[in-house]
């Protein structure tokens, strides 16, 4: 461990907070329909889009209408993406956009991939540069990176409107929300971010793969492509699907330690800003600060544990006689599966940033993390992505926990639970309980199926290697159920003997189970969350009295941390013990 390593973690938390506050205020204006500084530029295209879409953007929707628009829009996106991916080498695709003449991946892999990108998961059973054409990456995957992220933010905005609503059943209008999210939030930051990335060395071209002749007489083939435009939204939308197989470890996606820092900020900026936006929209910024404090506390805890574990080195390194402490000119540590330019701190922090959110991008091989280092991302996933979480999903999931904490707090002090002046009743509590349980249920059920069946075990690469094999399976379904997308990458659902997909086939069990888990654990909670928003929207507001339990102070923040940890621990502790914890406690090699 080094001073620079610790400083990186602290500096990141500070800079993130300083950037997220103004963005949160800006976004609050975007979702309450106020003018912002971009309105003169974007007002006209916005109105044009509404006209072309024939959307009744001015009409308030109740939760059912909102959910219906959202689901049908997602279904349309699913169908289009599936068709694009399955026809990537069809006769009408120009050669320049498929320079290596890649065939399409088989149906089962495409089912998984399509479900993955539409649900903002971006789990990848394929390697980008050996499977996807430039056209598929741009027209299919990049577009879903934007709109699936947008859908998540819409739900968070709708839930906040439900919480503060005083005028009946309306929770906003889906079409207005999605258009404004894309135009006012995601697109402007993406344009600026992509240019920053290119200025640091991320590539953006349409040339064919290069062939280099090295000075020692070898040849090297180098993949190319329009990377920057996809890279930026991959982070900003907490998507995480890499242009290349090794994702943000690839020097063309993440060339320097600066881009690494910048990309981490891109991942967390919107989830963090949404918390401040929540404070603004409820008219009491301290509400946002309390939730932000809870998230930041758990985030820093995870980062510290991961950094210490990885700096310590792995049992395999020690058994081979290596010295893993810092020496002059090298920081040591578990550098297996990590890049020199990021180092241990830059890799551990990136790993935590992308697993507390639903980003799932990786700049190091999680499979090669030490037992405890690998337990950190799994614990983050077990907390159901509420530590900042995915764009939108993180905030709305956390707010459901807030609701639960208010209820539990109310029971403890023996008062009717009230939240921001609204009485919480059986319906909301039942619904939030349901929403909170869908994801763990999907994750554990699928893991059980996968480890107990022959078909499931076919995907495990570390079979017979002690806890690692179980960890691979658990991580796969935890990640897909939480719509995260990071992986113990040894777990496979796609056998691809050669680049270009000729002779490739998918592992149907893993592909289909994973795809269904992602769809269920994404849209299930969304519908239930919108129902909560609807139930809250119709309630009368009563002024806070002496007996009201406050939700904007430290006491409540501690209670909230307790509820999140308790639900996560009760649900996942046995499973985590079987995999990473056992591995972290032993120096044994398998």
């Amino acid at each position: 461990m080094t001073f620079a390593g610790w400083f990186t973690i602290i500096a990141f938390a500070v800079i993130l907070t300083l950037l997220a506050m103004p963005l949160g205020s800006y976004m609050a204006k975007v979702y309450t329909g106020e003018r912002v500084f971009l309105s003169p530029l974007l007002g006209r295209p916005e109105r044009l889009l509404y006209r072309l879409l024939r959307a009744e953007e001015a009409k308030e929707q109740d939760w059912k209408a909102y959910a219906k628009s959202l689901l049908i829009f997602s279904l349309a996106g699913w169908l289009l993406l599936y068709v694009i991916l399955r026809t990537q080498n069809a006769f009408f695709v120009p050669h320049g956009l498929n320079p290596l003449e890649f065939h399409s991946a088989p149906w089962n892999v495409t089912f998984n991939t399509t479900s993955s990108f539409v649900t903002n998961t971006n789990w990848q059973y394929y390697g980008g540069e050996t499977t996807m054409t430039y056209l598929s990456q741009m027209l299919g995957l990049t577009v879903q990176n934007f709109v699936s992220a947008g859908v998540g933010i819409c739900v968070a905005a709708a839930l906040i409107r439900g919480i503060i609503g005083r005028t009946g059943k309306g929770i906003g209008n889906f079409w207005r929300d999605i258009v404004r999210t894309v135009l006012y939030v995601l697109l402007p930051i993406s344009v600026l971010g992509a240019i920053v990335l290119v200025s640091q060395g991320v590539i953006q071209n349409f040339s064919s793969y290069l062939t280099a002749h090295t000075v020692t007489g070898l040849t090297q083939s180098i993949a190319m492509g329009p990377v920057a435009s996809q890279e930026v939204i991959k982070e900003l939308g907490t998507n995480g699907g890499g242009f290349f197989n090794v994702n943000s470890a690839h020097p063309f996606e993440n060339p320097t330690a600066f881009t690494n820092f910048f990309e981490m900020l891109l991942v967390l900026i919107v989830p963090a800003a949404l918390v401040f936006m929540y404070g603004r929209m409820t008219g009491n910024r301290r509400q946002g600060h309390a939730v932000y404090g809870v998230m930041m506390f758990m985030f820093l805890g995870a980062a510290i544990v991961a950094y210490i574990a990885e700096a310590h080195g792995s049992p395999a390194q020690h058994a081979a006689g290596l010295h893993t402490g810092a020496i002059h000119g090298s920081t040591g540590g578990n550098l297996e599966g990590k890049e020199q330019r990021f180092g241990i701190a830059g890799s551990a922090l990136f790993d935590v940033v992308t697993t507390v959110t639903s980003c799932g991008a990786v700049n190091s091989a999680i499979e090669s993390f030490t037992g405890i280092g690998g337990a950190v991302p799994m614990a983050n996933l077990s907390a159901s992505e509420v530590i900042f979480g995915g764009v939108g999903t993180g905030l709305y999931s956390m707010l459901l926990y807030v609701l639960l904490a208010v209820f539990i707090g109310g029971l403890m002090v023996g008062r009717t639970p009230e939240w921001l002046g609204k009485k919480l009743e059986a319906r909301e509590i039942k619904l939030s309980g349901l929403a909170i349980l869908i994801t763990p249920l999907a994750a554990l059920f699928a893991t059980a199926l996968a480890v107990a069946s022959h078909a499931g075990r076919a995907s495990v690469s570390a079979l017979g290697k002690g806890p690692q094999g179980f960890s691979e399976s658990l991580y796969a379904y935890l990640s897909q159920a939480n719509n995260n997308g990071s992986a113990f990458a040894g777990y496979t659902g796609f056998i691809q003997p050669n680049a270009g997909n000729i002779g490739a086939h998918g592992v149907t069990f893993a592909d289909v189970l994973g795809g269904l888990v992602m769809l269920f654990a994404r849209f299930g909670p969304i519908v239930v969350t919108l129902a909560v928003a609807g139930a809250l929207a119709g309630k009368r507001v009563t002024p806070a009295g002496l007996g009201t339990m406050r939700t904007d102070n430290t006491t409540f923040a501690v209670l909230l941390i307790g509820v999140v940890l308790l639900v996560g621990a009760l649900t996942f502790f046995p499973a985590l013990l079987l995999g990473p914890v056992v591995q972290g406690l032993t120096g044994h090699l398998y």
Binding site: T130, S190, A194, I203, S229, P251, A316, A499
Partner: protein, 220 residues
């Protein structure tokens, strides 16, 4: 319902045009004008020949030749050995030979895996055999981890400074240069940390090796 379906179809088509065509093309246009070198992958040419990308790691091993002068192959892969005149990159386990930048991949070696230990041991042994003749006090405990562990991308363009300083003994001896000259070049091609604190310092292997060749001639 019907209205939702029509709007959904229109929306996904319009978003596809805006975000899938207009946006990437605008970014490509701006990048190609403002940062053409970066946008095209920081290609490095020597005497008009493309030798690689500055930021993509590559192998500095050379093909082993059979007695008849042809490159030796085993199982359709070239047999290679470290070229002692060059700094060696980190170990790489991409398919189809090391540093295959058309198919990046993680090694996925587990922390408690017997295979990981064996790979580490083999890499450390090779490193010692290559460098100990020129730095006789070198022991396995002094081998920097980056010289033994594969990177995440398996395309890491950098090695640690400690790794470079050890290899400098060999490279200096093989090229008839003084250690001071080689160490000066290492310092020249060592990156600084991002923002002054983020990440680790590393030495760009390709740039360093090409600078050596400019100093006293390449092998090819």
């Amino acid at each position: 319902m019907r209205r939702d379906i029509v709007t959904s179809i229109l929306a996904i088509v319009l978003f596809t045009v805006l975000l899938g065509i207009v946006y990437p093309l605008v970014i490509t246009g701006v990048s190609q004008v403002a940062f053409p070198g970066n946008a095209n992958g920081q290609k490095v040419y020597v005497n008009g020949r493309l030798v690689g990308s500055k930021i993509i790691g590559q192998s500095f091993r050379r093909p082993v030749l059979e007695k008849n002068g042809k490159p030796k192959e085993e199982e359709e892969e070239l047999v290679t050995e470290a070229d002692p005149r060059y700094f060696q990159s980190r170990p790489s386990a991409t398919e189809g030979g090391a540093y295959n930048a058309a198919a990046s991949t993680f090694s996925n070696r587990g922390p408690n895996d017997e295979v990981t230990k064996e790979e580490d041991e083999a890499n450390a042994k090779e490193y010692l055999e290559l460098n100990r003749p020129y730095d006789t006090s070198l022991t396995v405990a002094q081998v920097p981890v980056d010289a033994v562990n594969t990177s995440a991308s398996n395309l890491d363009p950098e090695i640690s400074q400690a790794n470079a300083w050890i290899q400098a003994h060999r490279v200096a001896a093989k090229r008839g240069l003084s250690l001071t000259e080689v160490d000066a070049l290492i310092a020249k091609y060592t990156d600084s940390r991002g923002l002054g604190f983020s990440g680790e310092r590393g030495v760009n292997v390709l740039e360093l090796n090409l600078a050596l060749d400019r100093l006293n001639g390449g092998t090819h």
